[in-house]
């Protein structure tokens, strides 16, 4: 088994000893400039608004679909199970062929 390589840990440890004495306060006028630029951008673009609201709209649409199916479930199931309704796709094609 190779001994662990100590070169990088020693260099990193030495680098950590360096104190960063540079000033961290915002330079003069920086905050004013950034705030002005941030608000000058104005309202978010239409595409951003669309992206933001489209997911909500999708959720609402899905919910409405579920509610509509649930509310009409009895009618839908009655239609699909009714013996009188015999006009499947095959019969419709036959009718069209007969007409011609």
């Amino acid at each position: 088994m190779n001994p662990p390589d100590s070169r990088w840990p020693r260099l990193a440890a030495a680098a950590r000893q360096a104190r960063d004495e540079r000033d961290t306060a915002a330079p003069y006028g920086f905050a004013t400039r950034v705030a002005a630029r941030a608000f000058a951008a104005g309202e978010p673009p239409f595409s951003a608004l669309l992206a933001r609201f489209s997911w909500r709209a999708l959720g609402v649409a899905a919910l409405l679909t579920l509610v509509a199916v649930a509310a009409n479930y009895s009618a839908i199931s009655a239609l699909s199970s009714s013996p009188d309704e015999d006009s499947g796709p095959g019969e419709i094609v036959n009718e069209i062929v007969d007409l011609s």
Binding site: R7, R10, F30, A38, A41
Partner: protein
């Protein structure tokens, strides 16, 4: 952030109402946090002021998305880190590492590390830091970021994961890969030094 009495919640509320004075206060309050991150991950040939401005502009653009699930400073730190990594990725070529480009102190530090004969002198800490940055420039942006956070800023894997949005396993894999590359790089340097 020296000002412990700063009313961050109130300031954010005013910023959301597009109060420009509040936006200025917020920038001044967060500047020390942002500039430390930017300085630690600044790509060559990019001005720190330009990059910190980009971080703040992103922060204001996305401020409506901040829901308060994490402290605001963590949220801003993540924007700063991802902005820096985007800049690092945008660099077309990584600068080549050459002995000839090192200062006398940096060459001395590298020599003492490679020969393993003596520890780096405390006076050479600044040279060691510069040298580390030049070495890290040789890595992929993602690997460089992980090593910087883990080994220079001594953050935990969980903290790196939170800052970058990468899962902890990915952070560990990137750290492993970066250390292996550094080891290989030291071996190449030693060969070049001998020849």
């Amino acid at each position: 952030m020296a000002d412990e009495t700063f009313d961050l919640a109130g300031c954010l509320e005013r910023v959301r109402r597009r109060d420009q004075a509040a936006a200025r206060e917020l920038v001044e309050h967060l500047h020390p946090l942002v500039i430390r991150i930017v300085r630690a991950h600044l790509p060559r040939r990019v001005q720190e002021e330009d990059l910190s401005q980009e971080v703040f502009l992103k922060m204001f653009t996305r401020i409506e998305q901040y829901k308060g699930s994490v402290p605001f400073t963590h949220w801003v730190s993540r924007i700063a880190v991802t902005t820096c990594i985007d800049q690092l990725r945008a660099q077309k070529r990584r600068p080549e590492f050459r002995w000839a480009d090192l200062s006398e102190n940096e060459a001395g530090v590298l020599d003492s590390v490679l020969t393993n004969e003596r520890d780096v002198a405390p006076d050479d800490a600044l040279a060691a830091r510069e040298l580390v940055h030049k070495l890290l420039d040789q890595l992929k942006p993602e690997d460089r970021l992980v090593i910087q956070l883990l080994e220079l800023e001594q953050k935990s894997v969980a903290e790196v994961s939170q800052l970058t949005g990468w899962n902890q396993a990915l952070v560990k894999v990137r750290a492993f890969r970066a250390r292996r590359k550094l080891k290989k790089f030291f071996e190449e340097l030693k060969r070049k030094e001998k020849s």
